[in-house]
């Protein structure tokens, strides 16, 4: 997983554009209509997405049509599995902290009884 891939998608507008393209190929105008920022902004983000390998572009008469490429999403998918493991490890620590907490409680209860 390349950090660039994540950084590229960590932008709310680009994430939105990617969502819009999930339903299939779209023209810049269609994307502008949905994303609700001006065309130059959308074009800039599309260029970044294109350079990052997220989208393909093809001319259709006067229009430029954009669509998603599967490769970075496969990469993301693999990465998310790893991320899931990391959070799994974190919840293991949660479980261990829980056991320590319960043990401490039982111990102090016993000590109280002995007094």
């Amino acid at each position: 997983m390349h950090i660039e891939t994540i950084q590229l998608l960590a932008d709310p507008v680009r994430l939105h554009i990617v969502d819009v393209l999930r339903s299939g190929e779209q023209s810049v105008n269609d994307i502008v209509g949905t994303v609700k920022i001006d065309q130059s902004g959308v074009s800039r983000h599309l260029r970044i997405l294109h350079e990052g390998g997220f989208v393909d572009v093809r001319p259709d008469g006067q229009r430029r049509m954009y669509s998603l490429r599967p490769e970075p999403f496969r990469e993301l998918d693999a990465w998310i599995s790893g991320y899931r493991h990391l959070w799994g490890a974190r919840l293991d620590r949660f479980g261990e902290a829980l056991v320590r907490r319960q043990t401490a409680k039982v111990t102090s209860r016993k000590e109280r009884k002995q007094r």
Binding site: I6, D19, R84, H85, L86, A89, L91, L98, R101
Partner: protein, 166 residues
Amino acid sequence: MTSAGPAAQRTITIERTYKADIADVWALWTTKEGFESWWGPEGFRVDVYELDARVGGALDYDMIADAPEQVEAMKRMGQAVSHKTHGTFTELRPRERLVLTHIIDFLPGVTPYESTLIAEFFPAGDRVRMVVTLHPMHDEMFTRMQVAGFTSQLTKLDRRFGATAG
């Protein structure tokens, strides 16, 4: 992973069932010593200086790299070894559900954004099922990793934790 829509596809859900009292589970999220006892990515610890467990209440702490290799990685990246972190309990229903929102404002060149984590609790008998919903791209933990520059080591960590992760 759910598939209800684009937003849902970007979240992941991790759940665990612990043999524990809901009061203890809740305390690990909503008390200073409880939170400090487990929060933080591998190689980091936290020092909480404010934890106000009510809606709109603050959760402010220092996230501190404390494993030698993490300290080294942070230094190499020119990052501070300790970082003030600001969070808020944006939703809170005692012993049922909490939503923790962090402000990610320490990424150079990146507009500050919010990272949201939802934790839900379902007690049943002597067990509690805990469901944590995350947005990996905007998760505080991942962002820390990214800053520290060791996301490339994810694979290594996977191998290490593979046996226990679920």
